[in-house]
Symmetry: C2
Subunit: 311 residues, 2 copies
């Protein structure tokens, strides 16, 4: 069974890890959000691509979910002693990724080619593909600070500002990676990982031709909301800011037009009926991924469910 996974940062990366270590990696393609990408100290930072790659190759910091394990912070400490900005932490090992990627991009190489090479160096056997090689930038409209890039909202302001809306600068002109479109056609199932619907998955789905390519495909989503709360990050607050009660059902509604099936947590059992009623079939299980074993267990359950639905 060929799987195409759509992923954002930490939550998406955890589930992608589960898929990677459950499937034959050659049967898995992961499309990663790049709308969070930004420049910092002149370096091109691609937080979601890095988090997915680091997580799958078992290099990610287990404590934070982002960055590398066993990281040192010599450069960052010295940047602070020179009064440089420090709102986004760059570990020494992590910094090498940004430096070499930026160097190659400045020579005209694409983010996807560079990512593919890095994956090879890191021993990753699945295809990890940035959603687009063109710049797209998530802008969060906040009450307090006006329109700000996502990473400033998320990291600099600790995702506390009240939000009014989200837009994706450059999305009209951005082309989806050609391998993304091909992977949709080749896939048996498209899995939307438990990532933030508004700012991690929406940019991927908003790329030219993607919603059209998904018509008639089997699409399943794992809820990033459990018991009305986001597992991590601002997803629940974003639903609230839009006047929507955050819930697994709200996630199902968000993806309604493209969704075949949904995976929700046992404690949201009461929402299964609501989701069924809008024509989306629903698996309930324990979707909270605490350990690395949880990731694999959940991925295996989701794959089995997809296989069952295909029969």
């Amino acid at each position: 069974m060929k799987i195409l996974a759509l992923a954002g940062g930490v939550g998406g990366a955890k589930f992608a890890y589960g898929l990677y270590h459950s499937l034959d990696p050659h049967d898995l393609t992961i499309i990663v959000n790049t709308a969070d990408d930004f420049y910092y100290y002149g370096l091109y930072i691609s937080p979601d691509v890095d988090t997915v790659c680091y997580t799958i190759s078992k290099q990610a910091s287990y404590e934070t979910g982002w960055g590398l394990s066993g990281e040192s912070w010599v450069v960052m400490e010295n940047l602070k002693s020179l009064h440089g900005p420090g709102w986004f932490n760059l570990g020494d090992r992590d910094l090498a990724t940004h430096l070499e990627r930026t160097r190659r991009m400045q020579l005209g190489e694409s983010l996807s080619k560079i990512t593919s090479d890095f994956c090879q160096y890191w021993g990753i056997q699945s295809k990890i593909i940035p959603m687009s090689d063109n710049p797209v930038q998530s802008i969060v409209s906040t009450v307090e600070f006006g329109d700000i890039p996502f990473q400033e909202y998320f990291v600099k302001y600790h995702h506390t500002p009240k939000t009014k809306g989200y837009s994706f600068k450059g999305i009209e002109k951005a082309l989806p990676n050609p391998k993304f479109v091909q992977a949709i056609h080749d896939s048996d199932w498209v899995i939307i990982c438990p990532s933030n619907p508004y700012v991690s998955v929406q940019p991927i789905l908003s790329l030219n031709g993607i919603r059209e390519a998904l018509i008639g495909k089997s699409v399943i989503s794992i809820s990033p909301i459990i018991g009305g709360k986001a597992i991590k990050g601002p997803a629940a607050n974003m639903f609230k800011d839009q006047g929507i009660e955050p819930s697994a059902f709200a996630v199902a509604k968000f993806y309604e037009s493209i969704l075949t099936a949904m995976v929700i947590d046992d404690q949201d059992q009461d929402q299964k009926l609501l989701i069924d009623q809008i024509g989306i079939i629903c698996l309930t299980t324990n979707i909270y991924m605490q350990s690395t074993n949880d990731r694999i267990r959940l991925a295996e359950e989701v794959i089995q469910y997809c296989e069952k639905l295909n029969r």
Copy 2:
């Protein structure tokens, strides 16, 4: 007594250290060559400025003369694991200097303003001024590789290629730092540190108006050549490549038109007469700086000699 020192990299920095720790630092201005500056991983590297600043503030690696002491190499090791270039070594602490400088330059700040701020953070009380805020690039014409930037000749090819000549791209348009011109006027003595005449001092002297400003000033040079050999680096080979026997006398001839006095090593005693004959007075002493005490001892001797000549 107001001193203006002209310096390149390691040799110049050692003597500048001696001056800094012998004089009232407010009586010392150091102009540093920037024609070796280059971009590496998109970062603006200013090797001579950094070497002078690190050396004077006692942060330099004593073993190498360049870079920082107690340095770690995590970023560089990880760059190599990503198959990135590794011909120029960047330590983790050093990297912070390049990152923050590049960040500020990209915002339009000048190299001299940034250097001035860094000097303040590092507790340096003398003025350390890049020779120009405009780009100048030393090009070494080699038999083997054609015209290459100085750092490639020096570091990448370990200054082994035979050279045909040297040019300074951008020198016609580059303006000397206004504080440089002012410091010439204000100085009692201009000291040419024991740096490479061809590629460290020549760019400084070639800036618009500098040779003219030096007319009538007292200028003294410390020979970078002892016993026909360069203390460090390619200076002796460059004289040979130009068909000139490397010697203290050759250095005196090189600077003949601007030089008042010259400081040469005891073992080059026989050249004193030759140098005297071209109208340049000459101090012979031990000019080899092994320890930090040697630097201070030599600087004190040179200052005393200058004071004696002024009486």
